[in-house]
């Protein structure tokens, strides 16, 4: 599986993590190109159906990025996102899906380096896990 390159779908909040990713770019910090970013206004605006869609369509991992607790642009969207991700991970785990393929990370607009490190860590972790088993099993 040496040549396996994981595909990660990332849902990043506009105000913190997306800006953090932007900072990584403008600061010319290198990170793996395995990540496909979708910008949301808030992590709390994410309907988990899109996370499920990504996983069921064969994405190897999903990263959800929001502002640090207490820093949400909309007061508390990230706390609500945390609950939803908690529910999602519990359901995935119970339904026989490896819930460690779903990461929630608080990354602020000033943390370009941390964003790049997170992507590197996630890619390494997913390389160890191998491809999403659904890819082998065909469609859902």
């Amino acid at each position: 599986m040496d040549d396996f390159e994981p595909r990660i779908i990332a849902f990043l909040c506009n105000w913190c993590t997306y800006a953090g990713a932007d900072l990584a770019g403008t600061s010319r910090i290198q990170y793996p190109p395995n990540i496909h970013i979708i910008r949301l206004m808030c992590s709390g605006a994410l309907d988990v159906t899109y996370v499920l869609k990504a996983l069921l369509e064969g994405a190897d991992g999903v990263l959800i990025g929001g502002c640090h607790p207490g820093d949400c642009h909309y007061q508390n969207g990230n706390y609500k996102a945390r609950r939803r991700v908690g529910i999602l991970k519990s359901i995935l785990e119970q339904m026989g899906f490896d819930d460690d393929r779903v990461w929630l990370r608080w990354i602020s607009a000033s943390e370009g380096q941390y964003f790049a490190d997170t992507v590197k860590e996630m890619v390494a972790s997913l390389k160890e896990k191998g491809p999403n088993p659904l890819r082998e099993l065909g469609g859902t």
């Binding site: 309907d47 988990v48 159906t49 499920l52 869609k53 069921l56 064969g58 929001g66 607790p69 207490g70 508390n76 990230n78 706390y79 609500k80 945390r82 609950r83 939803r84 991700v85 908690g86 529910i87 999602l88 991970k89 519990s90 359901i91 119970q94 339904m95 026989g96 899906f97 929630l104 990370r105 608080w106 997170t118 860590e121 088993p133 659904l134 099993l137 065909g138 469609g139 859902t140």
Partner: protein
């Protein structure tokens, strides 16, 4: 504070219940009653909205059949404001679903007298029709005769609905008026639990709860809990990885019946009815080209998993989903088993209290703190 009262049974328990409900209507405590009534054909018992006290003749709140979870009906009657005072005769799972709907702002209890009845279990509608056709007696009184001991066996050759077999909450909680049956000699008496105000209006005589009542309820709950745990263990053993998950839902045809039957799946604009899942032809061809093949209809597993995510915190376990499934998917068991763990994350019990906020509508700063942090 609700107290206990004794209602003497004369000329049959169902007749006594009808007479009791009649007093609510005639005494002006309610303007209309939503109550299960036998259909003229005799093969079904359906919720009926009654304003004329003389129409209460075929009332049967104990009938072992549940065509719809009536929380939905109370929502229809109250969501935009009930114009009159409604007395709603419900089972425990219907009360719990209604409490969830109130919290979801889909129903209101402002003008409602909640009347809960002990549930002895229900059959699938077709089973009920079949049983009534082949029976001379009354299915309700058959079951009531067993209620005293707290061991309620279904009629021979039939099973209660799966949700009922594993229902550990047969006694409704949080109602204004409760009709207790389990652990009582219902040929002689019914246990009424009511507020002082209602009791005074109904001229009820105070009573002690018979000692056998709690014993019988405990026995029934223990039996059902054991069945629940057995089914939970079975499903947890069976669904362990992706192939087993796919196998579990391989018979799903995404007909949405479970969603329609679910009392708490309330969204007026469900995402599965929006353009998000209304794919263009090109989309299907693109998917099929990328993967080589796609199963049709698409989106079956995402439908089930999304519903789990949207619903698991509020699932009251009424099992209407499973009754509605044309392919007998064990959705009630799956939703309850998954729901149990999800609800435990937030120490939430759906339908327990109006005071407890819906888990997805609130949060605590000091919970789930490892989520979001680097490991």
């Amino acid at each position: 504070m609700n107290n206990n009262y004794r209602l003497e049974v004369k000329d049959g328990v169902l007749e006594t219940m009808a007479a009791f409900l009649r007093r609510l209507l005639e005494g002006g405590m309610v303007d209309a009653l939503l109550v299960p009534v036998r259909t003229p054909t005799g093969d079904n018992v359906v919720q009926t909205l009654i304003t004329d006290p003389t129409m209460l003749g075929n009332v049967d709140p104990v009938a072992p059949v549940l065509p719809v979870n009536s929380a939905r009906l109370v929502s229809d009657l109250t969501a935009t404001g009930a114009v009159g005072r409604l007395g709603a005769v419900l089972r425990s799972c219907e009360v719990r679903a209604l409490i969830e709907l109130v919290k979801l702002k889909q129903a209101s209890l402002d003008n409602v007298v909640l009347i809960g009845v002990d549930c002895l279990g229900t059959y699938e509608m077709n089973d009920y029709a079949e049983l009534t056709a082949g029976s001379n007696g009354n299915l309700s009184t058959d079951l009531l005769a067993q209620a005293k001991e707290g061991h309620i066996a279904p009629h021979e050759g039939h099973q209660f609905r799966v949700a009922c077999q594993m229902c550990e909450q047969p006694v409704p909680q949080g109602v204004d008026l409760a009709l207790g049956l389990i652990g009582l000699d219902t040929a002689r008496e019914i246990l009424i639990t009511a507020s002082d105000e209602l009791a005074e209006k109904l001229d009820l005589s105070p009573a002690e709860v018979p000692a056998a009542r709690q014993e019988a309820v405990d026995a029934l709950v223990a039996e059902r809990t054991a069945e629940r745990d057995r089914r939970f263990a079975e499903i947890r053993q069976r669904v362990v990885d992706m192939p087993s998950l796919l196998a579990e839902f391989s018979r799903c045809i995404r007909c949405h019946n479970c969603m329609v039957a679910c009392p708490v799946c309330y969204c007026k604009e469900c995402i599965f009815h929006t353009a998000t899942f209304d794919h263009a032809s090109a989309q299907y061809f693109r998917w099929a080209t990328r993967k080589g093949s796609i199963r049709m209809p698409t989106d079956t597993l995402i439908f089930q998993l999304t519903r789990l995510n949207h619903m698991a915190t509020s699932c009251v376990g009424c099992g209407m989903c499973e009754s509605a499934c044309p392919n007998d998917l064990p959705v009630a068991t799956i939703f309850r088993a998954v729901g149990e763990k999800v609800q435990a994350l937030f120490d939430y019990v759906p339908g327990r209290s109006l005071e407890e906020e819906l888990p997805v509508a609130t949060f605590r700063e000091d919970e789930l703190t490892s989520l979001g942090e680097r490991e």
